[in-house]
């Protein structure tokens, strides 16, 4: 019926219609980024740099999915605010949990004159 007419329409009254080109381009970029992130592990740049690159690619992929597959780019701003708010709440969970966890480690040395033994230290078999 109205298919021909609507084929490349961006808005059909109720919600935004993603174009074929947007969907296919987004899919292709996501696939390329996946190949890129797998190949990047074969280059050893140090554990933190490798992790940083992998996470940067993951964030980029997530952003692409949100913007184009989930229509957030054309959608109401409030939906984006909700999602970002949820992610920020998650960041708070992580931050607050990481803040004091060091307090429960046995390796905290309060008295430098009597350092505790490291946990899981090998059994000393050598006698002096």
């Amino acid at each position: 019926m109205a298919t021909e007419h609507h084929d490349d329409a961006h808005d059909h009254g109720i919600a935004h219609v993603a174009t074929k080109r947007t969907l296919l381009t987004n899919w292709a970029v996501l696939t390329v980024l996946t190949i890129l992130t797998v190949s990047a592990t074969k280059i050893d740049m140090g554990p933190s740099a490798n992790l940083g690159l992998a996470m940067a690619i993951a964030v980029l992929k997530a952003t692409l999915v949100c913007l184009f597959f989930m229509h957030l780019r054309y959608d109401k701003l409030f939906h984006s605010v909700l999602l970002v708010g949820g992610i920020l709440a998650g960041a708070l969970f992580v931050g607050f949990t990481l803040m004091d966890t060091g307090q429960y480690q046995e390796t905290n040395i309060w008295d430098p004159n009597s350092p505790p033994q490291a946990p899981n230290a090998p059994r000393p078999i050598v006698n002096q």
Binding site: V17, W27, L83, A89, F93, P122
Partner: protein, 409 residues
């Protein structure tokens, strides 16, 4: 076509007072009103999902911050290939889900059905690959908590724990690095863990640098005259008394390098554990003389050709570790304690994600049935859009799980 059918079957009962799909409820002003309300609802649900999963990410990040060595070691076990294929499968299904929304919005019923079918097939593909991964991990004992088998050999190189008869078997994942050299061959080089032993916690610093890492067979060329005679005597005694004797007292000469005991070894005792449970295992107890004040490192080869004889044992120059040996040693190192925690986290995160995929299959089957019945139109495509949004979120979570659980290097 489909609309005509609906007008025929539903319009009489409802009487909406506005045009469009019979699925528009009375209490909404129009199709757009209903769509927006549903969309807000699904976004609240998705945010709830983000918070739900963030708990698991907290667990992951916390454990990685404190026990990074476990994650580093975990690269022995990772199925990168399957993880990458699954990422591709999910991205493809995300495309088909987004396309399904487009088809629904444009009244393309056949396209909609096709896209939903592709999404369902991809979801099944994802779960099938997960099944392959999980069953392999079950088979290998790469599991959570007490089910983790530290003796599992993740790659071609057997773990040292295998050679050591795997003392930290199954339930215990804390290894005793000094658990004894290989039972069959007697003490071997590199069987015992190096390390500085802080023997007295009340005294700061390292009291004795007694690294017991160079226990090895006496090198033929480096045997002293006395040592050789002893060995010959031992061999003769063994021959005279038969194999039974050899079992109890095999003939070997220990070499303890100078680094083991900077001040020279005191007494060296060879211990043998003959309990039935552990089989015949060998241990070495080295007693060191008191460490002197630190001096400049001695030339390790200074006494290479005339080992010092201590009682019936030999003292030989240290073995210089080559790069290949170091790599081999690193690769054959047993899993660090609590490696099972990686698998607890791995199964918790991928398992919960897998459940979401499974739930997604039910949702898309429901969509498939409704789309075949022709319920969706340009006025009413909310369920397709909401389900696709859910599916994209499942994809989003996987986008993060994949590098975090499969690409650790």
């Amino acid at each position: 076509m489909s609309e005509a059918e609906h007008e025929h079957s539903h319009d009489d009962d409802h009487g909406h007072g506005h045009h469009g799909s019979p699925w528009i409820q009375h209490h909404y002003d129009d199709a757009r009103h209903q769509f927006d309300a549903g969309k807000l609802g699904i976004w609240f649900f998705l945010v709830q999902e983000v918070l739900f999963f963030s708990g698991l990410f907290v667990m992951y990040i916390l454990y990685r911050a404190h026990h990074g060595e476990i994650y580093e070691y975990a690269h022995h076990y990772l199925a990168v290939k399957w993880g990458a294929i699954n990422t591709g499968v999910l991205i493809a299904s995300s495309l088909s889900a987004a396309w399904a929304v487009r088809c629904a919005q444009l009244n393309q019923r056949k396209g909609l059905i096709l896209c939903i079918v592709i999404t369902i097939v991809c979801a099944f593909g994802f779960l099938s690959i997960k099944y392959i991964e999980y069953s392999h991990k079950f088979h290998m004992g790469e599991l959570w908590g007490k089910r983790f088998d530290p003796c599992a050999t993740p790659n071609e190189t057997p773990l040292l724990t295998k050679m050591k008869k795997c003392e930290g078997h199954v339930s215990s994942v804390v290894w005793d690095p000094n658990g004894g050299p290989d039972a069959i061959g007697g003490p071997k080089a590199g069987c015992l863990e190096k390390g500085d032993y802080d023997r007295d916690p009340k005294t700061p610093g390292i009291q004795a640098q007694c690294t017991v890492d160079e226990v090895q067979y006496a090198d033929e060329s480096r045997k002293s005259e006395k040592g050789r005679k002893e060995l010959e005597a031992c061999e003769m005694e063994k021959e005279a008394n038969g194999e039974a004797h050899a079992k109890n007292a095999p003939c070997y000469i220990l070499q303890i390098n100078h680094n083991v005991c900077p001040a020279g070894p005191g007494a060296i005792e060879i211990l043998k554990n003959e309990s039935e449970e552990r089989g015949n295992e060998w241990g070495v107890d080295v007693e060191c003389n008191k460490a002197p004040a630190p001096v400049a490192a001695a030339d390790p080869f200074a006494e290479a050709h005339e080992p010092v004889v201590l009682g019936s044992k030999l003292v030989a120059p240290p073995h210089v570790v080559t790069d290949e040996e170091e790599v081999e040693e690193l690769e054959s190192r047993p899993p660090p304690p609590h490696t099972n925690m990686f698998f607890s986290i791995y199964f918790a995160m991928t398992g919960l994600h897998g459940l979401h995929v499974l739930f997604g299959i039910f949702v898309f089957v429901w969509l498939l049935i409704r789309s075949i019945k022709g319920h969706f139109s340009e006025d009413y495509f909310g369920p397709v859009d909401y389900s696709a949004l859910y599916w994209h979120l499942v994809d989003l979570i996987w986008i993060f799980l994949f590098p975090l659980l499969y690409l650790i290097h």
